[in-house]
Amino acid sequence: MTGQAAAAPAAAPIFDTDELVINMGPQHPSTHGVLRLVLRLDGERVVDADVVIGYIHRGIEKLSENRDWTQIILLTDRMDYVAAATNNLGYCETVEKLMEIEVPRRARYVRTVLAELQRMASHCLWLGTHAMDIGAMTVLLYAFRERELVLDLFEDYCGARLTYNSMRIGGLPLDIPTGWDAKVRAFCDIMEAKIPEYEELLTNNRIWLERTRGIGVISADDAVGLGLCGPPLRGSGVYRDVRKDEPYAAYDEFEFDVPLGTRGDTYDRYLIRLEEFRQSIRIIRQALDGLPEGPVMGKVPRLIKPKAGETYHAIESPKGELGYFIVSDGRATNPYRFRVRPPSFCNLQGLRPLIVGHLVADVVALIGTIDIVLGEVDR
């Protein structure tokens, strides 16, 4: 017996440790749609992560190359479906740039109001789900309560509540209904009063601080290197806001601040988005105060057929820099090449470096903090 034991290979240690591979998504309540993460865990600590996308790919870019220029507006709604108006805006402005169409000032003002309302609706959704991921369930309902009011405003304006199709190349399909600006003002007052309500539940909450401060820190250099945009980039203290750097719509006529973070952690990104609520309210009030009279549709040829050429135009969507690259061959009534730079996709690039080294509980918080919409990631 002893001889046999000596000949046997050294026994494996009694307590073997092994990495656990766990599949998070695409059907997981906290992956905000159909994101899939393959996590390699040591205990609860994430050793490595694979981010898998593509579950909601509908080929919007390719579809767009077979639609005429006006029909594409409808498709852009379906990318970032929680911020359809900014998608419309980005696309319409790109085509206007390509065709050198002058947009009436009133249309640009109303577009700005719509875009900022949309930013608040999108941030409401982000705030609610982000807080929900961390376990604060009441904030979700509070944020959705206010988002509902924005959707009502959109319904008043264009009849739709989610996919608006609210803009046209050269301006807007409709002027604002009578009394709509008063409703928007009333909403701004309500929203201003509700932000402290969110802050009361979260900003100084010890558990919230412990769950977000120092979690998912990303330095300014890394943020730029990863190509992040929007609040995640500004959270790391990089000053980049398309509204300021390359003003579009009527942003150059308004005063507003661009909040910047200092530590680049989840808490900073939270504070920045809350501050963006306030800045959006500020912009909307200025726009409504100075709303010029006039037409809402510019001089647009009956057949939209840009001359041959290509252009790139970016706007600041709620999620970050939303860019459109469009090539026209000058002969067809559809784009030759249609390509979107979706902010969610670029920000998703930062997810893996963010979550490696953190715990499973932080993973859901970090998916929330970069604020992705999978419809836009996959398109």
Binding site: L20, I22, P29, M132, L359, V360, A361, D362, V364
Partner: protein, 332 residues
């Protein structure tokens, strides 16, 4: 015969049914209170103001298909929900709902010790459920449950030592009587202990902000991910029965059980017109409400933060509390 078998059995039957029924209404209460906190209505469809939801839910769970994953451990998978429910019900044996013998099943001289030991068995149900499901998310949940167990159990037990020191007895009835003699509820004598036990109670019942083992946003339901139908309902019953237990224990240990406020002040004697058990249920209800209120308000701790809280904050305070209590006790 009548005194030793029939009456105790009757009491047990009444108590068990009362607990199980109140659990279903506790679920309704939670849904309603959270809904109000979140500016919505909650269940409104079944019966007036959704009152019958409490009956509809159990019926639905009972007639649901009983699914057991193929690769689950059949015995443990069935045992786990039972193991978590039974201790939660057994504890009620020593919980006095009033001063009269009619209001408790038994008053053993180590009542508090009995409660501590039996409630900690309940966690094995969760740990076993996670293990027996043979699934990854439940496994993570059961690891969390184990980590959580050692973090709060020690602190709570140590805190209870100072209560025992103050009361000089382990009997639940005795502890209330001690509060009657001293004329002060122990919440005023032992405020620190009260806070610690309540926090520990939140962790013990896996309630927010310590609901790590079920954390639906992270672990998709945690230990009960693979459970459905009646087995799931047993976990549910256990969780809410535990909440009722903790509320009752806190009411007894710190808020004078069935005693009226300021039990020795003669001027308030008119309050004695209200029977003791109403006082008791009133106090219990307040704590049930606080449980729900906390859930609606706070985000969830991470499990390493819970362990840090347990080991670095709660346990030192509990030890300090014992020392202070001991010194005061000796000096007086």
């Amino acid at each position: 015969m009548l005194d030793t078998i029939v009456i105790p059995l009757l009491k047990i039957a009444v108590l068990l049914n009362a607990v199980l029924v109140s659990v279903t209404f506790m679920v309704l209460l939670e849904r309603k209170v959270i809904a109000w906190a979140q500016s919505r209505l909650g269940p409104m469809r079944v019966g007036p103001y959704g009152v019958l939801q409490a009956i509809a839910d159990p019926i639905k769970l009972m007639i649901k298909e009983d699914i057991r994953p193929v690769r689950a451990d059949p015995m443990l998978f069935t045992l786990a929900p039972i193991l978590s429910l039974v201790p939660a019900l057994v504890v009620f044996a020593v919980v006095p709902f009033g001063g009269d013998e009619l209001f408790y099943v038994t008053d053993i001289n180590v009542g508090l010790l009995f409660i501590i030991s039996v409630t900690s068995i309940g966690v094995y149900g969760i740990i076993l459920a996670g293990w027996a499901s043979n699934s990854k998310y439940p496994l993570l949940a059961s690891l969390r449950a184990s980590a959580q167990l050692i973090s709060y159990e020690i602190a709570v037990t140590m805190t209870l030592v100072s209560v025992i020191l103050t009361a000089g007895t382990l009997s639940m009835v005795g502890i209330v009587e001690a509060q009657q003699q001293s004329g002060l509820w122990f919440a005023f004598v032992q405020p620190v202990a009260f806070v610690l036990v309540f926090i520990g109670g939140l962790a013990e019942t896996n309630r927010a902000p310590f609901d790590l083992p079920e954390a639906e946003q992270e672990l998709t339901g945690g230990f009960h991910t693979e459970y459905s139908g009646m087995r799931f309902a047993l976990f549910f019953l256990a969780e809410y029965a535990n909440i009722i237990v903790i509320s009752a224990v806190v009411a007894i240990l710190f808020w004078g059980g069935w005693l009226r406020p300021f039990p020795n002040v003669e001027a308030l004697a008119f309050l004695d017109l209200i029977p003791g058990w109403i006082w008791f249920f009133g106090k219990m209800f307040v704590f049930l409400y606080i449980f729900i209120w906390i859930r609606a308000t706070l985000p969830r701790y991470r499990y390493d933060q819970l362990m840090r809280l347990g080991w670095k904050v709660l346990i030192p305070i509990a030890i300090g509390n014992i020392v202070v209590t001991g010194v005061v006790k000796v000096l007086l």
